[in-house]
Symmetry: C2
Subunit: 516 residues, 2 copies
Amino acid sequence: MASPPQRRGRRGGKRSSEAGQNPHMHVPYINRKIPPYDLLDEESLIRIEQGAERILAEIGIEFRDDPETVRLFKQAGGKVTGVCATAWNIKFEPGLIRDLLKTAPPQFIQHARNPARSVQIGGDATVSAPAYGSPFVMDLDKGRRYGTMLDFENFVKLAQSSPWLHHSGGTICEPTDIPVNKRHLDMVYAHMRLSDRAFLGSITAPERAEDSIEMCRILFGADFVEQNCVIMGNFNSTSPLIWDGVSTRGIRAYAAANQGSIHLPFLLGGAVAPLTMAGAIAQNLAESMVGCALTQLVRPGAPTVLASFLVTLAMRSGSPTFGTPEPATGSLVMGQLARRLNLPLRNAGSFTTSKLPDGQAMQQSMMSMMSAIQSGGNYILHSAGFLDGLLSMSYEKFIMDTDVCGALHAYLNGVKVNDDTLGFDALAENGPGEHMFGCAHTMRHYKTAYWDSGFTDDLPFETWSESGGEDGMMRANRQWKKRLADYQAPPLDVAKDDALKEFIAKKKASVEDAWY
Amino acid sequence: MASPPQRRGRRGGKRSSEAGQNPHMHVPYINRKIPPYDLLDEESLIRIEQGAERILAEIGIEFRDDPETVRLFKQAGGKVTGVCATAWNIKFEPGLIRDLLKTAPPQFIQHARNPARSVQIGGDATVSAPAYGSPFVMDLDKGRRYGTMLDFENFVKLAQSSPWLHHSGGTICEPTDIPVNKRHLDMVYAHMRLSDRAFLGSITAPERAEDSIEMCRILFGADFVEQNCVIMGNFNSTSPLIWDGVSTRGIRAYAAANQGSIHLPFLLGGAVAPLTMAGAIAQNLAESMVGCALTQLVRPGAPTVLASFLVTLAMRSGSPTFGTPEPATGSLVMGQLARRLNLPLRNAGSFTTSKLPDGQAMQQSMMSMMSAIQSGGNYILHSAGFLDGLLSMSYEKFIMDTDVCGALHAYLNGVKVNDDTLGFDALAENGPGEHMFGCAHTMRHYKTAYWDSGFTDDLPFETWSESGGEDGMMRANRQWKKRLADYQAPPLDVAKDDALKEFIAKKKASVEDAWY
């Protein structure tokens, strides 16, 4: 097959900036003006909630390597049975975990070092953050390779440059060129130095969680941190039905410091969760609620976030599949369950299994992302860059996804209905058959009525073709390079910067490098 | 910029067929199991409805070149004012048009020549049909060129081959190699001969509408046609606020024959509709209601479909934009309005302005298509192949879009909640920490739990890369060729086929070719 004839060009339509003509839409986070979508009826929701309670009461959760967490749950009424010297099964009477969640705030502010960029987590707020956790990065020039600290910093810069993300995220990609036991310091510093938005801290070891929080004390002041949420950790259960000590110790560290934590089961159906979505949702609810409940035992009122990550499986190959319809519907139900619990929700994102930022990638991403939005998801990690089934962070897809995040600002604004927007005068001014290009209503609204994409190509075919006939990947390739070239670091107090560097240097010098 | 290294291959992952492992999902049309989404509150909906009534009462609709339609509306209570010798303005008291719609059926069956493929239009039914009306076609080998009858037939075959479309559509592309005054005969015949699904007839001239219906009388029998809907016409108003005689005469022809009609304003905001979405929706409602009402004056109870096509404008270039967020929200509101009117709705589709079936194309398509689905849209024209702002029908995008249509079968099934799907036993069988690959629940459900795409690539990166590293466009390019090669025509009664051919030959011989 010959090369597609349309794909010969190098140049193409020019765009000024990602912001386009949408400055009126710039906000620190989205306050949704449209209601979330309710997929299931009350009876079905109750059955799923009862399913979660039954899992907790009859099978229980296994806790490993963290006697203090076991002590806390036992004291709260959990029935503890020893599994081995370092593992305990705890069963919870129906309702026990839900009762513990009553002290958790339904919404809270995560403060950014730039106060204008602090975000609300929960309620009507939608906060978008880059994808998280890929070992690889990809771009069209160099293909797929292990992520480095340079890549990490590039993505923090690209996120900071986009008006359509609200949060700097966490481990945007693994900086594999930095020792495993020290990279958290460089990652947290990059978020602090190169972005002025809120971010996630380390969770890979309890002492790294403590380091992340300590760096926040330097940046924000210890008193401020004691009273306010300035960092969050994103913790995974070890599904099915295990909370490992590395996670629970980290959760306790964040909660003790009054900082936020997200409690995420990674539920690959048929592997670590029931294949059928109702069962996976019940399990998700059970595992995530238990993580959230632990925070309240450590410090009642500590900010905590319910989370959902529902993944299907290609049964023929055993590969995980992303952006498929069943997790989309499951995410919608998770939104309903989070509202009934009165907890903020982390949900879905721009998922895909595609290995290129192509049609498949964006189709799957939208199936997934629209479910996050419709579900009322409050914190959308994985909003930008996700490719290759979470294994690769893509520079080009990052550009495409942030443009979608921008469009969602308009989508979540909904349809405003008043005399002005009903625009009777626009029709009446000239009457039937007459265009409205110049009418007063059009002149009044043309700058703000529509989302103006900084990425999509809307030119006529001939214009597009003559200017190079680029596809979306090529445009995105040019855009991320320009965005990086144009990037300017937000100002940071020199004394704080020096103190952070000193902390990092001391920490790094105090232990040998570890590479696994 | 160098060619992307991943894009060198020719072969790649193999798929058996578009059907994948989803035979349990094959249905003549989708009966949605999830509720539509309500975006606006009651008060806002009433204001939009009042806005539509005000347009009808104070500005009125202009009717051209069809005195009989004017007579019918005058008799029904419309206030007629002459505009010129061939044009009349009619104003309608608030509520008049809505009253006329009370005889319209909330849902009806459009019969296919294969009774197993008849579709319900309205209620909980979702019916997907190919895109409609492009002058150009595109594929990766030959690029963009004017559509021909061969292309038209190819798309009918591709649609018929897909289990995920439910309807053969209408003018899938313009067969520009056939005279304008005769191509409707060949198009209707192609739908009848190459597909056994329901389809749309001609609307470009009243006599062509009559020909389409007459051919149905040959295929279905005149008595059957008199009693049942077997064909529909898709009619456009001439926005703003005009119904032209070519459309109204055609509408009357379909209604008189008890056949279906769809009443579609094409509302390009800022050009032929207010820029602000509330106003465009009110105008859309007004124009479409009037078309529907005309059918009820001709023949009370005739099947009729409310329709919506909301398009934004790139204000910098004046180009229409498709797949943007505002029309998505507008479509959701149109769904609410249609339900309040108790009428079936044609809504949105897989829209895009991209000139290639790339990431932009599928991102915009999904923004648009998910709004059609969430709105409760009943008849989704433009479900497959739409590219280039409706100017081109794409062979590759057709494949991508039909795969999405398949995924929507799973999405619209929602989340089934019962003891079996809650899957407690799957978790209890082995307990915490143990995978579920072999458990009884997994074995019972693995064939039917998940949508199994026939298009997306879910393989690990290495496998994908070693087998050629194709992007979605290349896979789609191979798929449509294979699908066409494998196509088999559904059987058709020889006598009927001969009668159809004879009718067409006579009609063609009776007039000179016309090329405009």
